[in-house]
């Protein structure tokens, strides 16, 4: 991760390579294949949340007319820019985030990413390009894939104009292949948590997913997950538990509460409870990628994401996870500023509880804005939820 940021910092200072800012499930493979270094503002947002800098920075963005109710990645990140404060300084001694040459979004996550990048486009006078995804998708239709594949193709001349270099199909295919391999390895890592006891937890995975987000499409990401998978398999084969005396297994639905990862991880560990799977960490599995069909397979991979699907699909998805990971309950995180990735709001906990015969718990909080989180109330809810599991 350090190398990722140092490389970007060097390029921003010297102009040695063009830098694309990309949304976290944007067209990374195309950008890599066209020679861009890729920077992810959402990753920066997560760092702002994890370092608990967000809560102080968000109000500066609110004052510009960006509501406290919209994505707190957006409001944290813009606040960080306005105040010239970044965790990159604290962690890597890097003065600021790398200035972009182009901003590239995919609305498969939400509309906020487009609004976020639009702000920077106006502020920095940098071109903005993107993909507009279909939403609420049940069965994926051919016309949707054709549309998205064409939108990705349409990016090529716009990106060529920025890079000044001709699109190279072989480089693109190579990036797609590396990204596919990264995804396969990342999935395999996550699947090890199906073991009882689990060799790692959701909280571990939220940290180790970093390269799957920021370095997919590179050899380094593949190398990272080959090492991680080996370690996890060793732990699994030797019965090494992430939580000593694992008694309960849970599923986490929704965004992490970045500023409370440690507190929550310690609370669950104290309760002998392992969060074994999550929709969130699974969201960077793109194993439909195929170097032989790079545009179409990217369209499939970035359209079949959980976040763009309809409610029946999402329910089936979690039911499938239940079969594999054998969890005893589900925790839904209702993130105040992330309605698109808070799946408790349309009755899903009640439906899944009924269908799976599992208890569910909804925690109110946020990914970054800790003003929306009552720690005492959340901790009591979690403790009571585990008490409830123990009564069974």
């Amino acid at each position: 991760m350090a190398d990722h940021f140092y490389e970007l910092d060097e390029a921003a200072k010297t102009g040695s390579k063009k830098i694309a800012w990309n949304t976290s499930v944007g067209p990374a493979e195309l950008l890599r294949g066209m020679g861009f270094l890729v920077y992810y503002p959402e990753n920066h947002g997560a760092m702002l949340g994890a370092t608990r800098m967000s809560t102080d920075l968000i109000p500066y963005t609110n004052a510009l007319g960006y509501s406290p109710d919209i994505c707190s990645y957006l409001t944290s990140d813009v606040g960080s820019y306005l105040q010239k404060k970044t965790p990159l300084t604290m962690v890597y001694n890097i003065e600021s985030v790398p200035k972009p040459d182009v901003l590239v979004f995919n609305t498969n996550q939400c509309r906020d990413v487009q609004d976020w990048f639009s702000w920077y486009s106006r502020e920095l006078n940098v071109p903005l390009v993107g993909i507009h995804t279909h939403r609420g998708i049940g069965e994926i239709r051919d016309y949707e894939i054709k549309d998205i594949a064409n939108q990705i193709r349409d990016l090529v001349p716009k990106l060529e104009a920025v890079s000044g270099e001709k699109f190279d199909l072989d480089s693109f295919k190579e990036a797609v292949g590396l990204s596919r391999r990264t995804s396969e390895l990342w999935r395999a890592c996550l699947e090890t948590a199906a073991a009882i006891p689990s060799p790692w937890t959701f909280f571990d995975a939220t940290i180790h997913m970093g390269p799957a987000v920021v370095a997919r499409g590179t050899r380094e990401a593949v190398d990272y997950y080959e090492i991680l998978l080996k370690e996890l398999k060793d732990r699994m084969n030797n019965g090494v538990a992430a939580i000593d005396g694992e008694k309960h297994r849970l599923y986490w639905e929704g965004m992490p509460i970045w500023g409370k990862l440690r507190a929550l991880s310690e609370q669950f560990a104290g309760l002998k409870t392992c969060i074994v799977a999550s929709t969130y960490c699974n969201s960077w599995i793109f194993d439909q990628l195929d170097p032989d069909e790079p545009f179409e397979s990217m369209a499939v991979a970035y359209t079949e994401l959980f976040i763009v699907r309809d409610e029946p699909y999402k329910e089936r998805y979690i039911r499938d996870c239940h079969e594999r990971f054998k969890f005893d309950g589900i925790i839904f995180h209702d993130a105040k500023t992330c309605p698109n990735n808070s799946n408790n709001r349309y009755g899903m906990p009640e439906r899944l509880s009924h269908k799976l015969g599992l208890p569910t718990l909804t925690i109110n909080g946020d990914l970054c804005d800790l003003r929306c989180y009552s720690e005492e109330q959340a901790q009591t809810n979690i403790e009571a939820f585990i008490e409830q599991l123990e009564e069974k």
Binding site: S353, P359, T360, T362, N364, C372, Y373, S374, E376, Q377, T380, N381, E383, A384, E387, Q388, E391, K392
Partner: protein, 259 residues
Amino acid sequence: MSDDAESVFVGVDVGASRTKVAILNASKRLIGHSVRKSGTDFAHTAQVCLNSALEMTDISRNDIARCTSTGYGRKNVSFSDDTKTEIGCHAKGCYHYFPIAMTIIDIGGQDNKIIKLDERGRRLNFKMNRKCAAGTGAFLEEMSLRLDIPLENMDALATSSENMVELGSYCTVFSGTEVLEKIRQGKKVPDIVKGLFYSVIKRVLEMDSLTERVVMTGGVVAYNPYLVKMFKEITKREILVPEYPQLTGAMGAALFAME
């Protein structure tokens, strides 16, 4: 030493607003209890509250076999042997009084809980209010300040209402503004207070569906029986209330201590 003193069990519920202590004898009979404002020093308040409850009995501290604490300040009770959440303790306390499948509605000082139990008293699910005090005791406390009415007078005022004023706001602060608006319009105070009770009931009803028999507990229920009557009329359900609704959590904690 009386028979009661042979083995007594103590439950301490340190809530956001009030601290409650219940002392049970080995026959699960309530032999001592006390309620105090929680204040800022939870450990001290719990101590004072225990001493006060002990004064109702002929036992001493040395006769306490075991103590369990619950509530937001459960970890601040120095003499407690164990802690349980208030959700678990309310469930335990209610099932002690009513050994049936039920929906518990607890309206506390700072939070509301809805807890569903099966016929064996096991929790099926629970919900607490979100990070907002609308519909809790804190809402009524805030309104009593706004209206300059002692909290203990609100039940009688609501009972005397002839034409309830309905309040539309969700938020405690906005409701306060709305109440001032109603006063300016010349609405009668009893009608406004009944509207406040109705507001509390609406907030509770939107938290979860009601299934099985309904049991209501908590300080708001203890001091405002008219609110329970309104709840009964609105939901068209029989509402069960334990003998000491404010002590339910402490009772449950004492029962856990006994286990």
